[in-house]
Subunit: 332 residues, 4 copies
């Protein structure tokens, strides 16, 4: 049986997800694509050979859609997820669950047991580098972890980025993955920043410190306007050794007195495999198969709570701030 997937959002992310599902995921096909900008929706739909609509909620309701991928702007996530759940349709929502902790908490609380229909797009958990890293930690190859250095840099921030959205939209990946790698929740955070780069009108770069329950201290070096390339790094230092993601360039090209490896300009080539494997696991799960490390709505809520603590620290002179995950009944 082939799962019929509807994709909400025809921006870079949505178009990419539609193409990945259609071309590279076993057991699924894209049947509908929605975007308020119908021209954009149609272009993306034509690329995969499906129909387009301009109303995301119509997509959720459509009979030809068994399950939904939400890749629309962050602020639209809660309402769309709610609609999917109310229609009884499984949904894979891009991170974050919501830009605010209150909305994330309300969503999870309201949905109750039905949150099991919701998965969240923390795709790094499927990146072969991160999964190898986690397995290496589990195998004890470097001993008990003591520090983690997580680095996320991009060429330039999108329009409308703020000091806060840099946390809720970008650093949120680091906030999820550090806890996932360590298998320990983040309990305390502190926000710091140097003089901002001339390319940004908000705090960029940022340096966030995290304490996890296991006593590990982590740094998150976030720099959205780093210009030189899309560059995600992670090092876990243990009591007996250290393990790091390696820059994933496949080719070395030497010319003009330089030995060069190419950086990607954005996240798509870097995480193409992670997105593919995430979508495959989600589809597998819809048929009763194994979903692997697929994130849940509750994982999204926890990440929102950490992001909220980071923003509190940002507005409070960088003071160490406790993470408080709101109670949401039995949903966790």
């Amino acid at each position: 049986m082939v799962v019929r997937v509807g994709v909400v959002g025809a921006g870079i992310m949505g178009a990419d997800h539609a193409r990945t599902v259609q071309r590279f995921v076993s057991g699924a096909e894209v049947t509908l694509l929605a975007d308020p900008d119908l021209a954009r929706a149609t272009a993306a739909a034509d690329a995969v050979g499906c129909r387009a609509v301009d109303d995301p909620f119509a997509l959720v309701a459509a009979g030809e859609v068994d399950a939904v991928v939400v890749a629309s702007p962050d602020a639209t996530h809660p309402a769309l997820v709610r609609a999917c759940v109310e229609a009884g349709k499984p949904v894979l929502c891009e991170k974050p669950l919501s830009p605010t902790l209150d909305d994330s908490a309300a969503l999870v609380r309201d949905l109750g047991e039905r949150t099991s229909l919701v998965s969240l797009g923390f795709m790094r958990r499927f990146d072969p580098g991160y999964t190898d890293l986690r397995a290496t930690l589990a195998a004890g190859a470097i001993g008990t972890p003591v520090t983690v250095h997580s680095t996320g840099r991009g060429v330039s921030s999108g329009p409308g980025a703020t000091s806060e959205s840099a946390v809720t939209n970008s650093a949120v990946h680091d906030l999820d993955i550090v806890a996932w790698l360590l298998g320990s929740p983040i309990v305390e955070v502190s926000w710091n920043a140097p003089r901002r780069t001339a390319a940004a009108d908000f705090a960029d770069p940022q340096l966030i410190l995290l304490r996890t329950e296991d006593g590990v201290l982590s740094t998150v070096d976030l720099f959205l306007n780093a210009r030189y390339g899309y560059d995600v790094r992670c090092e876990v230092v243990g009591e007996n050794g250290t393990a790091s993601l390696r820059e994933p360039a496949r080719l070395e090209v030497d010319s003009s007195l330089t030995r060069g490896l190419a950086y990607a300009a954005d996240w798509r080539p870097r995480f193409a495999d992670a997105y593919r494997l995430e979508l495959q696991a989600w589809v597998d799960g819809l048929g009763g198969g194994d979903t692997g490390p697929l994130a849940t709505a509750y994982d999204g809520l926890v990440a929102s709570a950490v992001a909220d603590a980071v923003i509190t620290s940002m507005h409070g002179d960088g003071a160490w701030t406790r993470v408080e995950v709101p109670a949401v009944g039995g949903a966790s």
Copy 2:
């Protein structure tokens, strides 16, 4: 529509292909698996949830099979390919087309126009590293190529390996990929070898020189019992620069005074992506889609002719030997 695939061979390669098609290829499912060793066939079939038989020709004939993957021992390839074609079923045959040039030529000659049903498993053409390398050459990033260094090393050779089978079964990958990268056929070869390693009872390592029609001189460093790891390298040197595949480890692990990257023990992790993309392209092509750089039976014949010339040189003191591709009518 989902293509129903039958897989012949339940060894490492066949079991791996079955799993890849079933789990990671869009638009296909495995419906039957054949191996004379029925227990092995059944184990592999159970792993993907399909039926097993012990007669490969019964698989070819089975109504539940639309297309066939042949991953049985080299010597069985020609008869199985012939049976598939006679049954009108598309077949993806693992390399080589046949261990001998005569059999390869007879097969292509006999099949005539129906050879279009046959694809050959030169999966390196789908490896993202090699495709990036080819694109880099095409973009002129290093100027006109002058030399290529292709290195293929493994931990240990399989049972029954000989000086000749090292060429027809292993070096054949290099023979295909060098010509494919350069877009120029190999016209002359020379075979050389050092003192053999203590681990082998045949000529291992081997050093093969290739001249392509474009005047490029290439080296193939083949070492099947290199012990240290499965290691495939390729460098193309051009008039303005040089481009090389980068060792693909995703993780660096530092411990015990060593900064280490892991080698795979065999080809599967190294070329998992290449096999997946090759199988996907083959399945796409069955539905009328683009097959990308998928190799044809004629490509297999050409590689057999080059391998044959290498073996002639091996038996003739390493003398430079012309490659003669047999005429096969209109089939090329």
Copy 3:
């Protein structure tokens, strides 16, 4: 004219300096070596073919000594430096100038203009990697710096190490080099640490944050019992790019499924060139030549002041702490 050098201290560092001066520095020879442990002094002296004494102050006074290298325990530095200056002899003192800020300040204040006789062993300034890095920044290759990540890890801490000595004896290298690379003094610091490693009975690792006057935020990741190797890293992130020291292994050795680069077990191989070039520059300067980036006593005082602020933060819950460099008259 050949400068006759006396070396105080016959431990690892002193013996190494004696050997370097004798064998690899142009224009100098070692004439006397002093250590309270006369057997140790004699062994080191024999290795370079000079005389040994057990009284460092006798060495300072000896007629056969034109200039002195001090490589004895940290606490002995101020008295020895003072003796050299009073004898009118140039002295190159290993870092730190003194373990306490008060003593460093008193020394510089008391010596007044004669502090020009004192150089300090911040050898990283002579490491070809760091000098290339500084030149790269100066050339604008990465734009204006925004963050620095300085990492110092060793296999195991020496006997008697404490949370504080880790700062004054080890991190002091980072405190000097970060300011030197940026050309901007450190004005504020914050100390943090994860759960300590099982191998230490003091705070190890430590994570120190530094703010320099230019607005750059730096991290110092110090881990004296990291076990896996001696590993010093530095990355400077700028507005247009990032520049990093590369691990300096000269050889890759691949065996047993691992592609390996060797780490040094201690600092000597890593900084052999830096020590040689530092000693050469010091000797050159004694003859009126260029001393390059050789650190002064005042640089040592500044580093002591920063270390003192770090320790204040350590004892004060990690609060951001201002660096106060004591006034020392015209000596700066």
Copy 4:
């Protein structure tokens, strides 16, 4: 006692040697510099603070010169070496001993026992990478060697380069170092080449195969007009592993979507340490100390014999050619 060194040749190599001896070699000073181009000689002499003459033979005879470094054009080597020996002065001659085998043989034969005064500038033997590599082989880390890949590439060839001079002047480094690494003489060679690069009017690149007495097969990939950078590589493949020189860049600079390491434009930065250590060992030896792996005149003769065999193969369709080292009496 300080050895007074005269340097013949004020080109790039001679000026560099003069500077190295003067600034970085313990126990030596440059007292005289000779070049037929007196202006050039004077400029180089001024840079190190010594006197200049235009007659190299006057330098050899000068009372202020204890020992001589010959860094003049290849063809002048034999006469200058002969003059030094006749004056009873030790000489370090840049490679080759002579451009022709006959002249090399006549020189060694004529000098007889006095050849012990002659050292030859195969500086790679002092490069820390190569010495580490040799030590790694000796330690058995990769088992018995089976193949070696030696790569020598430069940005552009000097004026007047020919297919033959590429061998006698450049590949001669590889011819010496391969035998030195393996501890086994080269007994047979074969010369090959692709279509030449558009940048050269002689055979460039060249691919030379070498057989050593121990049965190892080596490749020398020589490309003088490779344009992209000065790039020397070496890999030794053994029965249990493989060991390679690592590109020696000290800094990684990432910008404009490229992660870059700089290549040197010529050999000086790459081998600065090797030249320094070679000159130091030569000076040490003059005082009775250890000369380490310093090459002798006989090593130079052997390299000339191998180069001669390569050129014979070049002129003979690449046929495998035996190396014949002329008998020179007891001098070897």
